[in-house]
Amino acid sequence: MKRRHFLQHVLTAASVLPACRFLSHLTAHAATVRAQRKACILMWMGGGPPTIDLFDLKPGSKNGGEFTPIDTAVPGIQICEHLPEIAKVFGDLSLIRSMSTREADHTRGRYYMHTSYVPNPTVTHPTFGSVVSYEFRDRLDDLQIPAFVSIGAAGGDAGFLGMAHAPFVVDASGQIRNAPSEENRRRLPRRLAMLEEIEAGFIRSRRGDLPQDHLSVYRNAVNLMTSDQMAAFSPQRSAPRWGLEAESDAVMERYGQNGFGRGLLVARRLVQIGVPFVEVSMNGWDLHQNVFQTLRNQHLPQLDRGVSALVSDLRDRGMIDDVVLVWMGEFGRTPRINQNVGRDHWASSWTVMMGGGGLRNGQVIGATDKDGVAIADGSRSFLPGDIWATVAHALGIPLNTVHTSRRGRPMKLANGGTPVKELIG
């Protein structure tokens, strides 16, 4: 039985305690050998990272900034000197250096990069994590937590795909608030029996979708509350049934003792138990001033440690080909350095990083010109839809998938984007 459907029967059935169904998975037989499942981890750089200082350096240009490029594990490819660990694992990563997107405002850029669509007042497009949750809805029977987890709330929602596919937002470090006490768990069956009665009546009274959405969310919340898969959120806890061990201090140290590092570690654990889409946010990239000092002292050490730990950990565990990685923000930053030694918003030529997922990694695709202000002559440019189409390819979601907006408008997967052909080989 699919627990996710637990309340649907209730709407017609009249048994007094149908909510026992909620708890059925506690005795359910856990699959011992589980099919290898594909997943995506999105590393969201909130504020818009200066990719010209990280992944597409311009030594010798007036826009070049303070950093020097270094070699990576892949001959001929260089990145910033303050990312030495990422350089070592670059064989599992790739750079798309010719992103050209049109939205250079945070809210609009965040929306565009997450959904592949520009904002439109009459429709809310689903963020790509919600698309994955929706597409995988029938294959996740042993998953008791939401299929889309957002660590640190990057924003965006399920739009016309419905609240059941909304991101489950947890704190930056992966912590869950208001987890149930034993007492609350014990009293849940009767409470839910009563709740169902009230919910069903209000749904029947025909007031639109919100009452039904409320029910779906409660369904997911109850599944979560009563599941031992919750251990994925706490690195110190183990859940042997799901193959989760408690993480050693060494592992925690490797990822970094900060929000981003911890978030990535939780993301890996979530992927291990079968969550197909996890987003981890790292904020503070809106560097209108003092960009070099902030990068050198704060952002790059964290980023270098976290990303390299994740990549090598996935490889060590044999998961690297099943987990596709995306690293991006709303936009890049102006090649020109402003009077406050900062860089402003810039969408017309910047870099996104991808990795894992069985892609042909260790590549650089596309290029910007010598000052970084435009896509180089002869180089193709890419849109967010192309990134998400590549992810869809890696996850096995058919590219011709079309969703229908609530108004009946067909919406192409990833806005009809094309996978980056060099990566899918």
């Binding site: 429709v123 639109g208 919100l210 907006s405």
Partner: protein
Amino acid sequence: MHMTGHRGIIRNMAVGMVLAAACGPGSEAADSAVDDSAVVAFIDAQIEQAWRDNEVRPSEQAPQAEWVRRVYLDLAGRIPRVAEIQEAFEDDEPRLRTALVNRLLESSDFVRHFTTIWTNECIGRATPRRVSRRGMEKFFREAFARNRPWNDVVYDLITAEGHFEENGAVNYILAQTQMRDDGVQLTAKTARLFLGVQIQCTQCHNHPFNDWQQKQFWELNSFFRQVRRIDHRRVDPDTGRMVDDYSEVVRRDFTGPVFFEKRSGLMQVAFPILGDERIDPDSEDRRGELGRLLTRSQGDAPPLIATALVNRMWAHFFGYGFTRPVDDMGPHNAPSHPDVLDRLAREFVASGYDVRRLIRWICSTRAYSLTSRFGRHNAADDPASGEMPLFSHMYVRAMTAEQLYDSLITATGAHQSVRGGRDAQRRQRRRWMQQFVRTFDNDENAETTTFNGTIPQALMLMNSELTARAVSAEPGSFLYDVLSRPGSDTERVQQLYLAALSRKATRAELSRMRKILRSSGPDGRVAAFQDLFWALLNSNEFILIH
């Protein structure tokens, strides 16, 4: 459609009564030339015409209980108490509806609710550093308590100077100048919040959709260049270290043009100009000049500060404004009911920017009186799916976190357990709010909330300390009172339904709930009632405004 006509007459009488009652304190500024019933009749006629044009038929008038609950949530920011529901039921229609709107507009709950809304708009829910939330709230409390004309409120906010607790209005500017960005954020926020236009991207280039030019952004920006914030520090006598003291806004010496850079790299100049109105660039009171310009009509159109507030206010009561989003008006985004928006804005100006009077008009419309239930005849009126709203039934919307908190307190008397009076309660509410606030930490000063109908919100309602307190049956609690009063279990169930959902249980609900209660046995009776109350407070019907 003679039914409509009949109802229309009744409602016009009702409007007359609202107006008669409206001539109390706070409406001296009202222009007697504004005919309230004519305003409402015009809106009704326009909206009804759109129904006919789109071949929908409106829903019925909302049952009294539904309407009373809604108007409490919209005006007082909380559900009604049991006694208030019973009191309301004693009145007859339509007297009840008009009298209740008037009573709520005079209530301290109205002032608190609108203070919360506008404080959140101006400084966000996560109070930025060096901003006094208390000061901002004090400013709005006074504004709404005295029903100050809206143009005066906006004038005070953009011209404010002084200490952040002595003149609370300065906190708007303090919150919008968190970065040393030459007032860029302040410019964009002012346009969005008070003029209803989004121009943030014109900082760097001409707007791709509306007709704002980059130059106009910097012209508006140049009004704010005489702002200077001073963040005072002092020595903490205990530690000997420097700590934050107060902040203030003072006038900065600035004349002449501002310079900005075109995409091409060319530098350009901008002078303080709004629309076609140019002020003397040597003026030492640019913000004052701006405040005065904001009330000038723009050609034929009413001033944007009026249109922007009308649009927001309409959205407050219906869940949707005339444009989507409400703060992105302009030729690129045609309003759903342009004539209603225009007329309301003009009358609002003519009334002397009388906020309560605007609210009375909106609450007196036929559209606001309708139920949220709909049928086949108007199922197509579904703005959630992207359709243009026709207002042929009330749209269901979720409570804000503040509305939920205050409603929980109302339903359960949980505040009785808070010691330390109103201030302590406010602090407690603010602490509770923080769990839902996520800031993006960027130059738009934006934040998001996890109080958005998703799992974190459900977990909070199911498991939090607040809920545990709400369903407590300790002496002094609401449940204790209900359970220790004489009466039948049926009456108790009804009390809980009234407290949480502002209505009585249906017969079917009663029999199901009694069955579940009976199965708990006499020992578990208290726990069973607690669980029923828990279920009511966790239900879709409780959290939704309908």
